[in-house]
């Protein structure tokens, strides 16, 4: 279990303690303040090189990470896999070795294979590895920004200071994660983030889209979606991952929407305080209705905005550990 992200890799939220999660959230609050200034940039990671390696499609996560790195004044090396030697058959190990030879301090990795991030961490132990999504395993920064956004909203509602509240606002919070649980790395990260902070997490979805074994997840399975919606304080809607063959696991998209979609009717029946999150990109009309997506309790845009602050916190912590011994001077 990791108790502080300082100088550590961020591979999975399963091994991150509550203390370490709160450390990230609290730093993210400070970086959110930086992002609200006229000059939205601090020199913290000047001369550090951060490589962003995306072996899988992504616009928002990649832009979010690169914006975060740039606001910390780090140099960003960005590998466009489509036009790189990966297309010529270069192995992950060789690609990493090549980039490492250029001199990097951290790598942000998105890969279609589960476990790719921890593998890279073994290849280059002197480089900090930030997992930006590996196969169907984890997407830790998404999990952290989801809990960050929910804590921020709950703190605003109750008029408390988010930093001072610690994990208090999550105690007894009812979180329902719904949709394509089988393929979702976001669900795996969210489940650990919410439960470790003290929330109760339930999941719901069609049988074909459930993972083979839920026993290792810190969640309970809910079979009646409409009852669960009344129970929930937060509904985490997952994207139907058509690119991972989800389409063949449901009879039809309409059928899925009718049974497990956040339709207008379902959203109207929610308690007025219930929050809706979605990791994006949204399939409007499939897992979430367009009207629901633009509802005031739907936090999608705030999640994107907070993503930069949370990723700044992760990069800052991972890269500012005591790798070189030295005296502290006032």
């Amino acid at each position: 279990m990791i108790d502080s992200l300082a100088g550590e890799n961020l591979i999975s939220l399963e091994t991150l303690s509550q203390t370490a999660m709160l450390e990230v959230l609290d730093h993210a609050e400070l970086f959110a303040e930086v992002n609200s200034r006229t000059v939205r940039k601090v020199p913290t990671l000047k001369s550090r090189v951060v490589a962003s390696l995306f072996f899988e499609e992504s616009t928002r996560t990649r832009l979010s990470f690169e914006t975060a790195a740039k606001r910390l004044s780090a140099d960003v090396l960005s590998l466009a896999v489509a036009s790189s030697s990966v297309k010529k058959g270069e192995s992950l190990r060789d690609t990493i070795a090549t980039i490492d030879a250029l001199g990097i301090d951290a790598v942000i990795l998105r890969h279609h294979s589960s476990g790719a991030a921890s593998q890279v961490a073994r290849f280059v132990p002197h480089v900090r590895v930030i997992n930006a999504g590996d196969g169907q395993h984890q997407h830790p920064t998404q999990g952290l920004l989801d809990v960050f956004t929910v804590r921020q909203v709950l703190a605003e509602r109750s008029g408390t200071n988010a930093r001072e509240s610690g994990s208090e606002l999550f105690r007894g919070l009812h979180v329902l994660i719904v949709g394509d649980l089988r393929h979702s790395r976001v669900a795996r990260s969210d489940a650990w983030a919410y439960s470790r902070l003290g929330a109760e997490v339930r999941v719901c979805g069609p049988g074909t889209l459930l993972p083979d074994d839920l026993s290792a997840w810190p969640v309970t399975l809910e079979t009646n979606f409409d009852d669960a919606l009344q129970w929930a304080d937060v509904v985490g809607v997952l994207r139907l991952q058509k690119e991972r063959g989800t389409g063949s696991l449901v009879p039809s998209l309409d059928e899925f929407t009718a049974s497990f979609g956040m339709t207008k009717q379902r959203v109207q029946r929610l308690r007025s305080s219930t929050l809706i999150t979605h990791p994006g990109p949204m399939n409007r009309g499939v897992e979430i209705d367009s009207w629901a997506a633009d509802h005031a309790n739907c936090l999608v845009e705030r999640q994107v905005a907070n993503g930069v602050a949370v990723r700044m916190a992760v990069l800052y912590l991972a890269l500012s550990g005591a790798r070189v011994e030295g005296e502290i001077n006032e």
């Binding site: 100088g7 400070l30 006229t38 990671l45 910390l72 550990g321 005591a322 502290i328 006032e330």
Partner: protein, 189 residues
């Protein structure tokens, strides 16, 4: 050494063991009041002043100085808080410092900034603060007030207002708060 640094100094969690009390809370009070008078003397246009306390040790002193200024000049004085953790030049040299809030709601362009800290030592915190302040505009001038100047500067930085000059050895540590100033050492827990 500010409390924040002390808590995270290597090895993590060292504690400050006081040896001698050098100033009482009354001494500190008097010194702060004298500094406030000096600030007024140097700054005719007190309404241009923005008093910014450095997190975390400088904050109570900044608040006390601002209160004195308001008391003497009978005019409102703007205040702010600054944490320089993100501006330090030794980010990889030490464990992550606990960072604190920055609140500066004023455009500093053409204003006079009074930076306030508890202890001035190497000058590196002030260097970081000067860099940070430029992100809020271009102040007409920046002045520095410190409760204790303990020497050992590593940069060409000098304070404009000093509560007390205390020559120290490098191995010693200073603890300055509104309740007094102590000299002592840092000891592992």
């Amino acid at each position: 050494m500010a409390e924040r640094e002390r808590r995270h100094a290597r090895p993590r969690g060292t504690v400050f063991v006081p040896r001698t009390q050098l100033l009482t809370s009354e001494d500190v009070d008097r010194a702060v009041r004298r500094m406030a008078h000096e600030v007024i003397e140097r700054n005719v246009h007190i309404e241009d002043l923005v008093v910014i306390g450095l997190q975390t040790g400088g904050v109570p002193f900044a608040q006390r100085v601002a209160a004195e200024l308001i008391d003497i000049a009978r005019r409102p004085v703007e205040e702010g808080l600054l944490d320089v953790a993100f501006y330090r030049d030794d980010v990889s040299l030490h464990p992550v410092l606990e960072s604190a809030e920055t609140i500066i709601d004023v455009d500093l362009t053409d204003r006079t900034v009074l930076l306030v800290d508890d202890v001035l030592y190497t000058g590196r915190t002030i260097r970081a603060a000067l860099n940070a302040l430029s992100d809020w505009g271009r102040p007409r001038s920046i002045q520095l007030a410190v409760m204790v100047d303990r020497g050992h500067r590593e940069l060409p930085i000098r304070p404009d207002y000093v509560g007390k000059n205390l020559p120290t050895a490098k191995g010693e540590a200073i603890d300055a708060s509104l309740s007094g100033v102590w000299i002592g050492t840092l000891v592992a827990k």
